[in-house]
């Protein structure tokens, strides 16, 4: 219980700090934070799946679903409100996850990973072949208001940043609560021993299905926020490299805390920005070396640095 309060307090401090920093941040930094938090949301879903013993190489599917749903809501359904677009994106992704979960929840390990990858590539293929959704080019997305406030001028300029930090905060707090509930505690139990969970009276498949939906919704929120910030969606969001990046972030961060994926995504985005600037032709090399270093020296992810220090202090 005390860990739960400490996590919530830490997240609240981070929220206030990010909100207070808004007027000081240059535009590029604000954009970097928004994109990091959006990717962090997708990685947060992976954290839940990894705790359940599953690695999905297809979270891009829900990321793209969320982004396209937000775009379609704005362009075709005339929903111009950023908050509604994000909610719609998450709901659409959760719906897709609920449907695909009927099949995915039956598979484990490499079969689950490959099947999730296959589904995301099917969506990629569909998006590329659909002229109504812009085919390979995608289409532009322009949110107009946030809770009735215009995004074009005044405090509205910080609107999407505000949506990003409050979505990340809300999702992290709710997921933290879920992970500490009796239902959430079944995730590591399922990872360790499915047979025993069944023999204790719970349906493993239903819990896995639920966690797939939650992870899908989180990726959907992230995709919708990305669509708002970039102002554009394209099929690359469903491509396997996007999914691979979420796995990259999740492994880099570790599964110790719900704050870890956001910190990991921020580190990754900053690292990429600097690598891009200083080694434009070999930035992938820098990223790969960073990943290798984390796996070798911090096998439990970046967040384990905090844990070790805490353990050493007590």
């Amino acid at each position: 219980m005390s860990t739960f309060r400490r996590t919530t307090l830490g997240l609240a401090i981070a929220l206030v700090a990010l909100a207070a920093a808004a007027p000081l941040l240059p535009r590029w930094a604000m954009f970097l934070v928004i994109i990091s938090l959006a990717k962090g949301l997708a990685a947060l879903g992976l954290l839940l799946l990894m705790r359940t013993g599953l690695v999905s190489f297809g979270q891009g599917l829900y990321f793209a679903t969320g982004a396209y749903a937000a775009g379609v809501a704005a362009n075709s359904l005339h929903v111009g409100d950023a908050a509604l677009m994000v909610l719609g994106g998450g709901a659409a992704a959760a719906g897709v996850a609920a449907l695909l979960g009927l099949l995915l929840a039956r598979y484990r390990a490499i079969f689950f990973a490959m099947l999730s990858l296959a589904f995301s590539m099917i969506l990629y293929g569909l998006l590329v072949k659909t002229p109504a959704l812009g085919s390979t080019d995608g289409f532009n997305v322009s949110p107009r208001t946030l809770l009735g406030l215009s995004l074009a001028s005044g405090p509205g300029r910080y609107g999407i940043y505000g949506v990003a930090i409050s979505s990340a905060f809300g999702c992290a707090v709710v997921l933290d609560r879920y992970l500490r509930s009796y239902l959430g505690r079944l995730a590591p139990a399922i990872r360790d021993n499915e047979l025993r969970v069944e023999y204790m009276g719970a349906s493993v498949r239903n819990v896995v299905h639920l966690n797939l939906v939650v992870a899908g919704a989180l990726a959907g929120f992230g995709g919708a926020i990305t669509a708002l910030a970039v102002g554009h969606v394209d099929p690359e969001m469903a491509y396997w490299t996007t999914s691979g990046e979420f796995v990259f972030v999740a492994i880099l961060s570790g599964t110790a805390s719900v704050a870890a994926p956001f910190a990991g995504a921020l580190v990754l985005e900053m690292l990429r920005s600097f690598a891009y600037e200083h080694a434009p032709n070999s930035w992938q090399l820098v990223m790969g070396a960073a990943m290798l270093a984390v796996i070798l020296f911090l096998p439990d992810g970046l967040w384990s640095v905090f844990r070790r220090r805490r353990r050493a202090a007590t």
Binding site: Y182, R191, D192, N193, L195, Y199, M200, A202
Partner: protein, 256 residues
């Protein structure tokens, strides 16, 4: 006394192998029954059939008069039949306390689904503490169970089965992997903890001294069939049982 568990004509074949052949057994409520037999006699198959892990080729299982043949293990668990495992099936990355909390949390969430099993006013946390105390696992409360000795893991495995508040508990070789001089202490502790709730017990065992001492009735299995059923003294004196199960037959006869 009424029958809590009835198997009628239970048969299970795997291709040409018959693991259970027409087993008909009735277990009375509030008794302790021992199940003996050599390797491959069908003891664990019987437990797997009763708990729904295997579906019988033919025959039926009734629990408190209700047909449970072919039900999924989780539904059978909720009705009140629980089991422990020969090799402890625990959650290795969790602590002993968290292991118990998984089961108690499931009971807490599914209060309406668990027939006759409830926590009363106790929270799952309080119930987990009580189970740790009852099975004398308090010293291991916050240890990850992957580092615990095998005997403690077996005890935890049984405690987890008890956490789900069963009406009948099936123990698969509770003393296997436990040293000879600890077996009686372990069985005293386990049966004391279980029988405090008047839970019916059926346990698979290889040690005849244990079976003789703790049971009111013995079922002897051989080659998928029940070859003897009765009070411990008469079953253990049965010539066929002595020859095929206990292994005290004439010279040259290989004990199975």
């Amino acid at each position: 006394m009424s029958a809590i568990l009835e198997a009628a004509g239970l048969t299970k074949t795997f291709g040409a192998v018959t693991a259970a052949a027409n087993i008909s057994v009735s277990i009375e409520e509030d008794t302790v029954v021992g199940l003996i037999g050599g390797n491959g006699a069908g003891k664990t198959t019987f437990l797997n059939l009763v708990t729904g892990y295997l579906k019988p080729t033919s025959g039926s299982v009734r629990f408190l008069g209700r047909d449970i043949t072919g039900m999924a293990p989780r539904r059978i668990t909720r009705l009140g039949i629980c089991r422990s495992f020969q090799i402890p099936q625990v959650f290795d990355s969790l602590t002993a306390f968290e292991n118990l909390l998984v089961g108690l949390g499931i009971v807490f969430m599914g209060r309406s689904a668990f027939v006759g099993s409830h926590l009363g006013d106790a929270t799952p946390e309080a119930a987990a503490e009580e189970m740790l105390a009852r099975f004398r696992l308090g010293d291991y409360r916050d240890e990850p169970v992957s580092v615990l000795p095998e005997g403690v893991r077996k005890l935890l495995d049984i405690a987890m089965a008890m956490a789900v508040k069963p009406r009948i508990l099936l123990l698969d070789e509770p003393t296997s992997g436990v040293s000879a001089d600890e077996k009686f202490a372990l069985m005293d502790l386990v049966l004391g903890a279980i029988r405090a709730d008047k839970v019916t017990v059926l346990f698979v065992e290889h040690d005849m001294d244990i079976v003789r001492r703790y049971t009111q009735r013995i079922l002897a299995f051989y080659d998928g069939k029940v070859i003897a059923d009765g009070d411990p003294a008469s079953v253990l004196a049965n010539a066929e049982v002595r020859r095929l199960v206990v292994g005290e037959g004439g010279p040259g006869e290989a004990p199975c």
